[in-house]
Assembly symmetry: C2
Homo-oligomer: 631 residues x 2
C-alpha cells in the first residue's frame, strides 16, 4: 500500500476554531451602486450629507397662510383669505404670502415665503378667489421643516449595518447612489480525486468514475454564508496541474477549500503547496467527522490566503463546513449568525454513544401532531449522498455522553438556515403513483426502504406514514389512509423475444433473472407466487427458487431490475407494468397488488397527514396514464 | 383644488388578499446551470437518471477478495491470499479475483470481477506477494453496491423543493448540470411624482425636489421576497410618458408597483392605463395605512400583469408591501414564508387606540437585561424616512382593540426577515465623539432627540442609555457610564469677518444668528450664558434674547446652524468647535460642556450596555483629532 499520512494526534475542536480565527479571510471593502447594495454590509459610517426634506414642506393638501390670520376662526366664523397663487409638488413658489392672503398648496410642495403654517383642504371652502378657513392653526402646523426628518451632518447608519429595504430607503433619501460595503470573501474550491467527473460530462462507471459532489455542495454553502465561490477546473490525476491550480487559487482567493481526496498523492501535493507557500496549522480534529480536516495558510502578509481541507464524505464535509468554516466566512463578510440556523427538538428515541470524542451526529426532523419537533439519528455511513437530504442537521454530542434519552431536548444545528424540516415523513414501498402523490405535497420526505422496513419503522413510531404493497406479514397498529392497486409481473425485453409466459419459464428455462430485495412488497408477492408454483408441482419452495438463475440477485429500487433488462444484463426482472411501459419494455403480468398508505396513529391529527389523506381521495386522478394502475 | 378621487368605501383586508390572490404573478419556469441553482425552487420532480454509485464500490482501503476464502480466519490463523493486482479510484480493474486470490483496492475504487467482499487494510499484513487476512468477512462486507445510494428511476427531489447546499449536492451526484426551476417573478417599479429625483442626480430643494425613496425600498423588498426588480426610468411630470412606461412595464413584468403619487393627475394616468388594459379590482383598504392602496389587472390572459399601488409614505409603503405584496411574490416564486419574519415581545408601555380599523402600528424593539424583547410604538408621522430605520416592524392591532396594555405579549411582523433588533438603544444629544463610539458597537440604535428628550425617555424606561450635554435640569435615576468634555460657542464664517467676540455681539449688533431647539444641551448652555449676560447688565433675560436676531430660529441637528453659516444664511450659529473645524468655519468659544452617558438602571446588567461602558473607557482615544474635546 502507498504510505499514508496518519492522523494520530487529533487537535481539540477549540484549537481548530483558534486556528481558523487566526486566518485572515477579510476581503477589501468595495463600492457598489445603491441598487446592488441590498443584503450587503456597510463598510463605514454614513452621515447625512443634506437635510431631508431640503425645504419647509407641506404635509397635506390645503392652503399655506400666516397662522395669526386664522386666530379665532371656527366653523361658524371662518377666516376669509385672498388666494394669491398655487404651489404644487416639484415647483418653486412664485408667490409670497402677505397678511390676509393664502396660497393653494399640494402635499410635498415648498412652503411659499411669508407663510408659517398651513390648513388642510378639508377644513376650508373656496368662494370665488377666497378661501374660508374654518379652524385656527398654529405656526408650524402641517409643515415639515427642512432637516426635520434627517439633518445634514447627522449620523445616519453605522459601519457593519446590514442593508435591508429600510436602510436602502434611508440611503436613497440621502441621495446616496454608491455605497461603501464590506467585500465578499472569495473562496476558491479545488476538486481533487482521480475518479471525480463534473456534472454535464459523461460518466465511465466501469472505471469507477462518480460525479463530483463536494465542490458543488461547498460552492452553494459558501454563497449561503456570504462568500463568493470560485470553482477551479478539475485537475484529475495530474498533480503538477493540481499544484498549479492551488497556487493560483491561493493568489486569487481569501480562502481555498478542498475536500478529502481518496488519493494519498493528492494530499501530498496539498501539503507541499501549503508548506512551500505558508504553513500547516492543524491536521485532524478530535470531532467525528473531523479527522481528515486540514487548516493552513497558503501565503503571508497582505495577499494571505487561508486553506481548509474538508472531509470527503458529503455529510461530513457539510458538517465541518457549517461548524468551522461558515462562521469564519460570515465574520469576514460582516454578516451575523443566522437566527434560523438552530432548532430545538426532542429525541424520538434513545440513542447510544461511546465515541470518546465530540460527535456531530446527523439527524432528521419530524413534527408530531402537537407541532413538537422530534429528532432522530440518520446514519447511512459509507458516504451516501442521500444522507445529505435525509438529514436536516447535526446534534453535537459530547465525548462523555453515553446516550441521549428518548424525550431528551437537543439543539439541532441545521445544515443551512434555509433547511425546513419536512412537512410529512413517509417510509416504505417505492411506487410511481406515490411519487405523483408526493409531488402534490409541499416539502415531504419519503424514504423508499420497502414495505417491510417501512412497517418496522412505523412501529418504532418515527414516521408519519408507511406505504406497503402486497401481502403484509406483520401486524402494526396503523390507520389506513387510502389505497390503490398495481399490476406486477416480469419485465422482459421489448417484444418479449424469449416468449416468457410466467414464473415457470424462469424455473424451467435458462433465463437470467433480476429480483428485488426482501424488503420490497414485490419480492413478497413473487415469493408467494413461487410457493404456489411449488405446491402445484408438489415440490419444496426452495427447489423452485433455486432453479431461478438470479433469484438471489436482489436490487434495491423499483426500476432497477427493468433497467438491467433494458441494458441486456438480464432476460427478465421483477417489476411493474407501469415501469415496463415507461422504459419501453415488454411485460408478463403475474398479479395485482394492494398498495396501502398507513398512518401512524399518533399522527392522524397532524395537518399534513390530513392533507395527504385529502390528496389520496384523488388517487383515481393520479392513476391516470399509469398503465396497470387502478384507484 | 383639482378634483380628487376619494376613497370612501374601503375594502376589508380579506378582500384585498382575495384580490391579490386572484392575480396571476406566476412566471414561466426556466432552466439554470447547477452552479446558479442555489436558493431556487425546483419546478418539477427530479428522478434519478442513474445509479449512485454506478458500480460496486470499495468503501475502504484494503483488499478485494472472495468472502468464503476468509471463513475461519482470525488473528492467530490468518487466511493467506495471493495478491494478483491493484485497483485505484478512477481506474477500470484489469484483473479478476480467483479462488485464494486478493486484489489491493483503494477507497472508492471499482470492485474487480470475482470479488464479493473486501477486508480493510488494518486487518491485514502484506508478506511478499501475499496478504495475510486476520479476520473473516461476509459477502458484501465494505462494498457499496451499485445503486445502493440512489437507484436509477427513484424519486430524488420533488417539485417545490428549495435548493440548499444539500440538494445541490444530491443533484450533482446524479450528474444533473441544468436544473428546471421556478421562474423569478419580474416586478416593474414605476416612480411617479413630479418632485422625485433619483439618487446620484442633483437636487433642487428650492423647487421642492426630494430623492425617490419608495422605488429603492420597493426594489430591495421585491428582491428579498424572491422577485426580480425592474426599475423603470422616472417619468417626471410627462403623463404621456408615464402612460407609455406603465404599458411597457405591464408587457414586460408579472407585477407592476408604484407608490402613492402626491399628484392627482398621475393617479388619473394610472387609472386610465389600468382601465384600458384590464380592470381595477380594489381601491382603498380598511387598514391603516392602506387607504391609498390600489389593486388591478393591467392585461388579460397569458401575458397578464398585475398592478398594485402602494401608499406614498415610506413606512406605509413597506408595511403594505410586507403584508399584501410580499406573500404573493413569494408564492409565485415558490418560496415559503420566512421563519424569521415574526418575533414575539411584550409592550414596553401602554398604548391607546381607537382607530376603528385594522392598524399596522410601526414599532421598535429593544432587549432588556434578561434578553426579553420589549416593543414600543414609533410614530413620527408626516412620512419621515427615518421612521424606516427607527421602526423594526409592525404590530397588527384589531379595529376593536381599545388599548395594548404594558406587558402585553404582541407579535411583531418585521419589515424584513433580515431585520435585527438593535443590540443597544440610546437616545439624547447628538455628538461627534458619540458617533465614533457608536461605530464601535454592533448594530446600535441611537436617536438624536436632544438631552432633555433623552432624559425624559430614559425616565419612561424604554431606552438602554441616554446622553446629555451641559447642565441637566431634571433628576432622573440613572447610572453614569462615562463622560467627556466638549467646547461649544458660536460658529462664524471662516476668518470671523464680523469679528464676533462673544454673545454680546449678537445682542448689540445687527447679526443674523441660528439657534438649536430647546431639547438640545447646547441651547440650555446658551440660555444660561444669556441669563448671565442679563444679570451682568442688570436687565431681564428676555430682553437679552429678544435682542438676538434669530434666537428663536431653532434647528434640530448639531451641524445645522453651522451649515446655515457656511451657506451664507447667517452670521453666527450655535455649535461645537469640532463642527466649525470640520466644516472649515471660524469659532468663538463660549464654554465647555460635560457630556455624560447615563444607563437605564434596569439595563446595567445587559451585555451590550457593559460593552458600551468598556468602549467608553477608550473615550480618550475616541477624542483624538476632535478639536475641543477632552476625555
Amino acid at each position: 500500500m502507498t504510505d499514508r499520512k496518519e492522523f494520530r494526534d487529533l487537535a481539540p475542536p477549540e484549537r481548530a476554531r483558534e486556528a481558523i480565527d487566526s486566518l485572515d479571510l477579510d476581503p477589501d471593502p468595495e463600492t457598489v451602486p445603491l441598487t446592488d447594495a441590498s443584503g450587503r454590509v456597510l463598510a463605514e459610517r454614513i452621515d447625512a450629507g443634506l437635510d431631508v426634506p431640503g425645504f419647509d414642506r407641506a404635509s397635506l393638501d390645503g392652503y399655506a397662510l400666516r397662522a395669526r390670520d386664522t386666530f379665532g376662526a371656527d366653523e361658524a366664523d371662518p377666516a376669509r383669505l385672498g388666494i394669491v397663487g398655487a404651489v404644487h409638488a416639484g415647483e418653486e413658489p412664485d408667490v409670497e404670502v402677505g397678511e390676509g392672503e393664502a396660497v393653494e398648496i399640494s402635499t410635498g410642495a415648498v412652503m411659499p415665503p411669508g407663510a408659517d403654517a398651513m390648513v388642510m383642504v378639508e377644513k376650508t371652502d373656496e368662494e370665488n378667489d377666497e378661501v374660508l378657513v374654518r379652524t385656527s392653526v398654529a405656526p408650524g402646523d402641517s409643515v415639515m421643516l427642512a432637516g426635520a426628518d434627517v439633518a445634514a451632518g447627522e449620523r445616519a447608519l453605522g459601519p457593519g449595518t446590514r442593508l435591508t429595504p429600510r436602510e436602502i430607503g434611508l440611503l436613497s433619501a440621502l441621495g446616496v447612489d454608491e455605497v461603501p460595503v464590506r467585500g465578499t470573501p472569495r473562496v476558491g474550491i479545488i476538486s481533487t480525486g482521480d475518479e471525480l467527473v463534473r456534472p454535464g460530462n459523461g460518466l465511465h462507471s466501469e472505471r469507477g468514475q462518480i460525479y463530483d459532489v463536494n465542490s458543488y455542495t461547498a460552492a452553494s454553502a459558501v454563497e449561503e454564508a456570504g462568500g463568493e465561490a470560485v470553482t477551479y477546473p478539475h485537475a484529475g490525476d495530474d498533480y503538477g496541474e493540481m499544484a498549479r491550480l492551488l497556487t493560483t487559487a491561493a493568489e486569487e482567493c481569501d480562502l481555498v477549500l478542498s475536500s478529502g481526496s481518496t488519493s494519498a498523492s493528492a494530499v501530498d501535493v496539498i501539503y507541499d503547496v501549503i508548506e512551500e507557500r505558508g504553513e500547516l496549522l492543524l491536521h485532524g480534529v478530535a470531532v467525528k467527522p473531523g479527522k481528515p480536516m486540514l487548516i493552513g495558510r497558503m501565503s503571508e502578509g497582505d495577499d494571505a490566503s487561508a486553506y481548509v481541507g474538508l472531509p470527503g464524505y458529503p455529510v461530513s464535509a457539510l458538517t465541518i463546513f457549517r461548524t468551522f468554516v461558515a462562521p469564519a466566512i460570515r465574520e469576514a463578510a460582516g454578516l451575523p449568525e443566522p437566527r434560523t440556523a438552530t432548532v430545538t427538538g426532542t429525541m424520538a428515541r434513545r440513542e447510544r454513544y461511546a465515541e470518546g470524542r465530540l460527535r456531530y451526529m446527523p439527524v432528521g426532523l419530524v413534527t408530531d401532531a402537537d407541532g413538537e419537533t422530534l429528532v432522530y439519528p440518520v446514519d447511512k455511513g459509507s458516504g451516501a449522498t442521500t444522507s445529505l437530504v435525509e438529514a436536516d442537521g447535526v446534534v453535537a454530542v459530547d465525548p462523555d455522553t453515553d446516550y441521549l434519552a428518548e424525550g431528551e431536548s437537543v439543539a439541532v444545528e441545521l445544515f443551512s438556515p434555509d433547511v425546513r424540516p419536512p412537512s410529512l415523513f413517509g417510509v416504505g414501498e417505492d411506487d410511481p403513483l406515490l411519487s405523483r402523490l408526493l409531488d402534490r405535497l409541499r416539502n415531504p420526505r419519503y424514504l423508499a426502504v420497502g414495505s417491510r422496513q417501512g412497517l418496522r419503522r412505523l412501529r418504532d413510531g418515527t414516521p408519519d406514514v408507511a406505504v406497503t404493497a402486497g401481502p403484509v406479514e406483520r401486524e402494526v397498529e396503523a390507520e389506513p389512509l387510502g389505497e390503490w392497486r398495481r399490476e406486477w409481473g416480469l419485465v422482459v425485453p421489448d417484444g418479449n423475444p424469449e416468449a416468457v409466459v410466467g414464473l415457470a419459464d424462469l424455473v424451467d428455462r435458462d433465463l437470467r433473472f433480476v429480483n428485488r430485495t426482501t424488503d420490497s412488497g414485490l419480492r413478497t408477492s413473487l415469493g408467494n407466487a413461487a410457493a404456489d408454483l411449488a405446491e402445484e408441482r408438489g415440490v419444496d419452495r426452495r427447489e423452485v427458487v433455486d432453479a431461478v438463475d438470479g433469484f438471489d440477485l436482489a436490487v434495491r429500487a423499483h426500476e432497477s431490475p427493468a433497467r438491467k433488462v433494458r441494458a441486456g444484463q438480464a432476460d427478465a426482472g421483477l417489476g411493474l407494468r407501469a415501469t415496463a411501459e415507461t422504459l419501453g419494455l415488454g411485460f408478463v403480468p403475474l398479479g395485482d397488488q394492494r398498495t396501502v398508505v398507513h398512518a401512524n396513529p399518533d399522527r392522524v391529527g397532524k395537518e399534513r397527514v390530513a392533507d395527504l389523506a385529502a390528496a389520496l381521495s384523488d388517487a383515481g386522478d393520479l392513476a391516470a396514464g399509469l398503465p396497470g394502475y387502478d384507484a
